[in-house]
Structure formats: C-alpha cells, structure tokens
C-alpha cells in the first residue's frame, strides 16, 4: 500500500491523466487507478480531489443518464487541465529521475 503522504501530491496528477484519456466518472476513475496499481483508492477518496480540480478549473463536469441507477457525473479536462497535466508529467519525470538516481546511488554504496 502506498503511504497517504506520498500519494497526496501525485494522485491529482494521476486523476487528471485518467480523465484526459476519455470522459469518465468517479467510480470508473477509482477502478482504473486500481488497475494501474493504486490498490486502496475508494471513490470517496477521490471525490474531494475531483471537487478541488473542478474548483480550480482544471476539469469540468456534466451529468449524464446512466443505464443503471442514478445519473452519473462525467468529467473531462479543460484547456487549463491539459496544461496542468503536461506540467505534472514534466515535474514527475524530473522527480522520478532524481529519486531513481538517489536510490540507485544508495544501492551502489
């Protein structure tokens, strides 16, 4: 299980990426994150994050009728969201390289 402190900064970027792939809804996002290895992400965990992303103007929501059950809230990226996703990818790549170098260095010592 990934510690929540470690998850905090990265989960929003991952949610942006999932939404960027195709318009989707909360439960589907949590399921997709699970398939990528985020084992402990419930729909309730990502709902406040979706609200924050919506409030920041990075995603937009629209209610659509569901074939089963109540209407679903579908999310898609805004232009600002696409830019933010790009920034996240660059930042993550930089961080990953640095952390990998540190961990690799530690293993060599």
């Amino acid at each position: 299980m990934i510690p929540s402190q470690m998850l905090k900064g990265t989960l929003e970027g991952c949610i942006l990426k999932v939404i960027g792939q195709s318009e989707t809804y909360g439960y589907e996002i949590s399921q997709r994150l699970k398939t990528y290895g985020f084992s402990d992400i419930a729909e309730g965990t990502i709902y406040p994050l979706l609200l924050r992303l919506e409030k920041s103007g990075l995603i937009e929501a629209v209610y659509r009728q569901s074939t089963s059950g109540p209407n679903r809230k579908y999310f898609h990226l805004t232009k600002e969201g696409q830019k933010e996703l790009l920034r996240f990818s660059e930042n993550w790549s930089e961080l990953k390289t640095a952390v990998d170098a540190v961990l690799g260095g530690l293993q060599h010592e």
Binding site: G26, Y27, A42, E43, G44, T45, Y47, P48, L51, R52, K55, S66, S68, G69, P70, N71, R72, K73
Partner: protein, 229 residues
C-alpha cells in the same frame, strides 16, 4: 422554479431510495453540511453527488465504510475545503433572515396569546370590547432575544455534532445537557413573568400583525437573496 428548489426536489426523490446505513449516514452528513459555511445551493449540489455515489455503491453491494472510509466527519471536511464558502454578505443575509424569522414567529405568538382570549370573549358577546393594544414588557424583550439566540446556537450545535463519534460516557453528558436546557428555558420564562409589569411600549394589534407579516416576508426574501448573492 429556481435551480436550488429543483435540485432539492430531485435530491429528496433520490433520498427515498436509500435505506439502512446509507440513509442514516446521508442524514448525518447533510445535517453537518447544512451547519457549515456554504450556501444552500452547494449543500444541494454536494448532496446530489453523494446521493448518486451512494445509490450506485448500494447497487454494487458495497457498504458505506468501503465507499468513503470510516471517518465521515473527515470526509465531509475534505469536501468543505473544496467548495466555495459564503461571502460576508451572504453570512449577514442569512443571520438577518434567521433573526427576522424568529422575531416574526415569537412576536406573532405573543400577539395572538395576548389578544385571542379577549377576542373570543368579545366574539361570544360576553365581554367588553378588547382594547386591541398589546403591551410589550422588558420580560418579553428578554424572552425574544434569549430564545432567538438560543435557537441559533442550538441548531448550530446539532449540525456541528451530527458526525461526532458517539462515546459511551456521553449518557451522563446528555442528562446534564437536558437539565441545563430546561433550567435555561425555566429561567427565561421566569424572566418573562416577573418582568411583565415593566412595560416598554404598547403596539396596536393589527400594526403588530403587519410587522410580523413584514418580518416573515423579508426573512423569506433575504433567504432567497442569500442563495443568489
């Protein structure tokens, strides 16, 4: 029909489909959100999201803890962090609306109680014509203010503690709170009775009723404006 009313009606319909733990948790969460510093519109918008989340989870056979975790209060707090809060104007409009509503109800009851007996006797043609002038004493004024302030704090307390963890030792605290509540009400009623001779002014019955109607109307208008500001 405005957006808020439409959302409220839709949510009430969806709410009927919940049962068991889902229904109980939803009631507590909505109560907690209503006591928070967000407008009624955002309460309903969040409620709609939660209802669709809960109903879908119920269909999948998930329990509420699996869906949102065990700490409902923390979940609501994380929602509240990400919802626009009320502006100063909205808070003032809401407070004024509540005060006017309390004033309208309390003064309305006071006017009716003070005149209804005389009016009934007069209607039955067994008594003198009522004066239709209602005295307002210092006791009445203290009673109105105390009950209004108490109501506001009481509702806030219920909302804020809707998601509090229920502790085993809370039974004693409940008894003390219950006794304090009755002691307060008794003190306010005594104040009203003992200070009834300190008449501050008198108002004609129909002027009083017009004031009551104006207060209730203004309260309603402010409440609507509060959700549009």
């Amino acid at each position: 029909m405005n957006e808020l009313k439409r959302l409220n009606r839709e949510n009430n319909e969806l709410d009927k489909q919940l049962d068991g733990a889902y229904e109980s948790v939803m009631t507590d969460m909505v109560c907690y959100l209503r006591g928070a510093d967000i407008s009624d519109y955002y309460v309903e918008a969040v409620r709609r999201d939660l209802l669709s989340m809960f109903l879908a989870a119920k269909e999948r056979g998930e329990d509420v803890q699996t869906l949102i975790g065990g700490d409902f209060r923390q979940f609501c707090d994380s929602i509240l962090e990400n919802v626009p809060h009320k502006t100063r104007r909205q808070r003032m409009a809401e407070l004024l609306s509540i005060v006017l509503n309390c004033f309208g109800i309390l003064v309305g009851i006071h006017l009716l109680i003070s005149q209804v007996g005389d009016l009934l006797i007069f209607a039955l043609k067994k008594g003198p014509q009522p004066s239709l002038s209602v005295p307002v004493s210092l006791g009445d004024l203290i009673f109105f203010v105390a009950i209004t302030v108490f109501s506001i704090f009481f509702v806030q307390h219920i909302c804020k503690t809707a998601l509090a963890q229920k502790r085993p030792s809370s039974k004693k605290a409940n008894v003390i709170s219950f006794l304090l509540l009755w002691a307060f009400l008794a003190a306010v009623l005594c104040c009203k009775l003992f200070l009834k001779d300190y008449v501050l002014f008198s108002i004609p019955f129909f002027v009083g009723m017009a004031l009551v109607a104006a207060s209730l109307l203004l309260s309603k208008l402010l409440s609507r404006a509060d959700n549009c500001l």
